[in-house]
């Protein structure tokens, strides 16, 4: 079946590439087209998802109620201790605050909440309206910080100031203010900060355990199961391992510049990338600990010896099936392409909300001919591509789910609503199970897409 080209906006044509049809070129990193129903969120969203897993900090959203309400415990980032991050705090700005300014309300709200919860730090998120009425967050935060004796940090995340990417940057700027303020005594020379994992479904604990088995200490989680004091001493780590590069790469770069800490890009999704990530870290520490590579190899071997036999049945059932991917950051898509390949599946569509040219270049390199590569897509395009490619399973987030289901296509939530870890070797198994559970379900035989023409 052909794509209904009428759904594609003229202005968006160069944000869609079909591999093999023409030399690779894609336009990206643009403002979303008005009226196109982009799947993207805003700057505030970017900051909020990155910072919110810091569990012992107060996260106060300065704005009208919506921004806080829609992000209340939104991603299911788990904490092994305090759970202050799971509460939704807002200044709930009212009309009079908009007219007369919200600084006083913000000050009082901060004081009230800090007294009530004794957090180790507070983040104050700016929203669209705050950017317009011109509240001076910096000075309010400074004053309250002085009064309460904890870091109170403004996050410049006015929604309209770009897309999620700018929000990531604002979050990194905010975190960077904490780093370097703590005592680093006693940190092992074999130590890392884990950047870019948000501990959805407890994934960061799996990764920490791998590093522990390799003999590496984790200093700070950035930010899954994160703690303020860990961030303060994060500059004592020997290496930053950075996943989800869009979200925390800026912080890694800032830390490299300020503290000389090198970084290593990693991904914990899929077998190939997971193993290579551990090896890359082992190589980094090879000089300091000659035994580390052997330990890492043993770890990978052990995990694979458990994983592979279990994967076989899924691989057998899924081999030849077609998959589509649409995620927030393109980096995750790289690993997913490889993970699907491991299952014998073919990725026919891959896209992201905020990929860069380099990201799409890499996607182009690792995908097969005919694959559709798309930037900042929308429901009409995605549904049209799913039909054209006769996809068996779609990987995305909550907003992509009904697109798949309405068309009678399987689905895997790789974002907010996953409850089983998808990272690590065990994550690959969970991923295979979940893809399998959706693809082999008998329900698809009843959906109109499959029954059309068979009965009236």
């Amino acid at each position: 079946m052909n794509t209904d080209h009428s759904v594609i906006f003229q202005e968006r044509k160069d944000q869609i590439h079909r591999k093999g049809e023409e030399p690779f070129e894609i336009s990206c990193n643009k403002e979303s087209l008005a009226g196109a129903v982009s799947q993207r969120a805003c700057v505030f969203c970017g900051s909020r998802v990155v910072l919110y897993p810091i569990a012992d900090a107060l996260h106060l959203v300065h704005g009208p109620i919506g921004c806080a309400a829609y992000t209340w415990d939104i991603r299911g980032a788990l904490s092994s201790g305090p759970e202050l991050h799971r509460l939704s705090f807002s200044t709930d700005l009212q009309e009079k605050d908009v007219i007369f300014g919200g600084e006083e309300k913000l000050t009082r709200a901060l004081v009230e909440l800090i007294d009530r919860h004794s957090p180790n730090a507070a983040f104050v998120y700016s929203t669209c309206i705050v950017g317009i009425i011109g509240d001076d967050l910096e000075s309010v935060c400074k004053r309250v910080s002085g009064e309460k004796g904890i870091p109170v940090i403004p996050v410049q995340s006015e929604g309209f100031k770009g897309n999620k990417r700018e929000g990531y940057h604002a979050a990194c700027n905010a975190m960077f203010r904490l780093i370097g303020t703590g005592d680093t005594t006693g940190i092992s020379p074999l130590s890392v900060n884990i950047l870019g994992d948000f501990n959805l479904a407890g994934e960061i604990w799996i990764i920490q355990e791998y590093y522990r088995r390799m003999g590496i200490e984790t200093v700070a989680n950035v930010t899954g199961d994160g703690r303020v004091d860990d961030l303060r001493r994060a500059h004592g780590a020997a290496l930053n391992v950075v996943q989800c590069s869009g979200a925390t790469m800026d912080l890694a770069k800032m830390m490299q510049e300020a503290f000389g800490i090198p970084f290593q890009r990693v991904s914990y999704f899929g077998v190939e990338d997971m193993a290579e990530s551990l090896y890359a870290v082992a190589r980094f520490f090879g000089d300091r600990d000659p035994g580390i590579m052997a330990r890492t190899q043993a770890l990978v071997k052990e995990e694979l010896s458990i994983l592979y036999p279990q994967l076989q049945k899924y691989r057998k059932a899924l081999s030849g099936k077609k998959a589509a991917i649409y995620v927030g950051g393109a980096f995750k898509a790289f690993s997913l392409v490889k993970a699907f390949r491991l299952l014998g599946m073919q990725v026919v569509l891959v896209g992201s909300q905020t990929g860069t040219e380099e990201d799409y270049q890499e996607l182009h390199e690792i995908t097969d001919d005919g694959t559709i590569i798309v930037d900042d897509s929308n429901p009409l395009e995605l549904s049209s591509f799913l039909k054209e490619k006769d996809v068996d399973v779609f990987v995305g987030g909550v907003k992509e789910r009904p697109i798949a289901y309405k068309l009678g296509v399987g689905f895997c939530d790789h974002n907010h609503e996953r409850k089983e870890p998808l990272e690590g070797f065990i994550g690959m198994l969970n991923f295979a199970k979940e893809i399998h559970a959706s693809v082999v379900s008998p329900v698809w035989r009843f959906v109109p897409r499959k029954t059309a023409g068979r009965r009236g």
Partner: protein, 456 residues
């Protein structure tokens, strides 16, 4: 009666959503309509995600996707471009434009922009080739999603309703109720032999069948042609006791076209449903059809059968004001004690409405709190030893903390399946609610007991 404690400055875990959200939901219930938010991209995306998690249905909301320069120079160009793009790709019959806090604060004059847009479209307008455009001001800093919902319904009536011919139809403004409720309301009207114009009607648009294609705009919703003749209907029925005290669509249609308005409570439980049926009897001049009288009889029978399980149980009820009023009316008639009736809304008529529906059964009005968040609600409720919560999903953390059942009603239901199919209204809805409440209490008793009761 206990006076409200000194209000907190900050809001924690809001018990309300923002105004544009309500407008988008209302617009979704009109045939061929695309909801459109004039603001930054994030608002649309957050609301889509929030709505999709409840209904598990596509929810495309277009956005003018304003960026930084638009925040400075105004969003007119983007709004117009967005409208044009929605027209081009969605084939909308109506675009429902709601503002956001951003565009209200920068002072975009949306009615003026829409007028200019129409003028520019020139010929197309006259040939009705362009959709109707309805706009509503929904600054998030004043009022909740319910005010947004009602403002949108009123804006639709204001900008579309006319008197083309006198008909025997009845306008029914149901408020924000579930697709299951709406289907049942239609059935009731049909059984009375009444032609209803239900505004808005989410019954198909947010609970549609599996489809072969991704419907750009889901079928269903109030037909625009019917809205255009609402002024010709024989009567209007509007549900909601607090609503009836504000400027509603029903009042507008009454004032402008002389259509008599009947404001009744949300028909939840026996007495409020009796009131609703009585109005229908008056309008149609026939007694309630036997089918519904039989349902009423079975409901009373069930009240008797179930009363021992529920009698004198202490319940906290929360959510939208009119929903809570209806639920409270129902709970008191089955012998449950609503120890706290709470809402994030602040219409100013909540307490009065609760008094109206409880005074012939209870000697004292239950504790009523308006404009609360879940922090205040919990603080208040903790002193009242509740045994049952009745409300939406966002109170689950309290149910867990207090180890008491939560009977989920209203919106949002994010932690259970089938929220869109929960029936609240009428004799049948009361039956469902009763069954669920009795069973929740039985389940709790069974789970807490070491006996393992086989009969209960």
């Amino acid at each position: 009666m206990k006076k409200s404690p000194a209000p907190y400055v900050s809001t924690t875990n809001a018990c309300k959503l923002c105004k544009p959200m309500g407008a988008c939901l209302a617009f979704r219930g009109i045939e061929g309509t695309v909801p459109f938010l004039h603001g930054s991209q994030g608002c649309a995306t957050y609301m889509r995600r929030y709505i999709i998690s409840h209904y598990r249905e596509p929810m495309d909301i277009a956005s003018s996707s304003l960026g930084e320069k638009h925040a400075v120079y105004g969003g007119e160009a983007n709004l117009k471009q967005g409208l044009q793009n929605v027209m081009a790709k969605y084939g909308a019959g109506l675009i429902g434009i709601a503002t956001t806090c951003l565009t209200e604060t920068i002072g975009d004059d949306v009615p003026m922009i829409v007028r200019a847009f129409r003028k520019e479209m020139g010929e197309a307008v006259r040939s009705e080739a362009i959709p109707s455009l309805v706009n509503v001001a929904t600054p998030s800093y004043s009022g909740t999603h319910m005010e947004g919902f009602q403002a949108a319904v009123r804006a639709v009536a204001d900008q579309l309703a006319d008197l083309r011919e006198r008909t025997e139809a009845v306008n029914l403004m149901p408020g924000f109720v579930s697709p299951a409720d709406l289907r049942y309301l239609k059935e009731i009207l049909q059984d009375f032999g009444l032609k209803g114009i239900i505004l808005p009607d989410l019954s198909e648009t947010l609970d549609g069948p599996a489809a072969q294609d991704y419907e750009k705009i889901p079928p269903g919703g109030t037909p625009i042609q019917q809205i255009r003749n609402m002024g010709g209907s024989r009567a209007t029925v509007e549900l909601g006791r607090t609503l009836s005290k504000s400027a509603t669509a029903g009042k507008l249609v009454e004032e402008r076209f002389g259509v008599p308005l009947h404001g009744v409570g949300m028909p939840i439980g026996l007495r409020e449903t009796d009131g609703f049926f009585q109005i229908l009897e008056e309008i149609r001049g026939v007694p309630t059809p036997e089918k519904h009288r039989a349902e009423r009889g079975r409901l009373i029978d069930a009240y008797v059968d179930g009363h021992k399980y529920v009698s004198e149980k202490r319940a906290v009820v929360y959510g939208e004001e009119d929903l809570v009023v209806g639920l409270t009316a129902f709970l008191v008639e089955i012998g449950i004690q609503p120890v706290l009736c709470a809402s994030g809304g602040r219409s100013g008529h909540f307490r009065e409405a609760i008094e109206e529906v409880t005074r012939d059964i209870l000697p004292l009005t239950p504790l009523v709190r308006e404009g609360v968040d879940f922090y205040e609600l919990a603080e208040e409720a903790e002193t009242l030893s509740p045994e049952l919560l009745v409300g939406h999903s966002k109170g689950y953390h309290l149910a867990k903390r207090w180890n008491i059942p939560l009977v989920r009603v209203g919106f949002p239901i994010h932690d259970r399946f089938g929220g869109q199919r929960i029936l609240h209204l009428g004799y049948r809805g009361a039956q469902h609610l009763l069954d669920r409440i009795v069973n929740a209490l039985i389940e709790k008793k069974q789970a807490d007991s070491p006996v393992g009761y086989g009969y209960i």
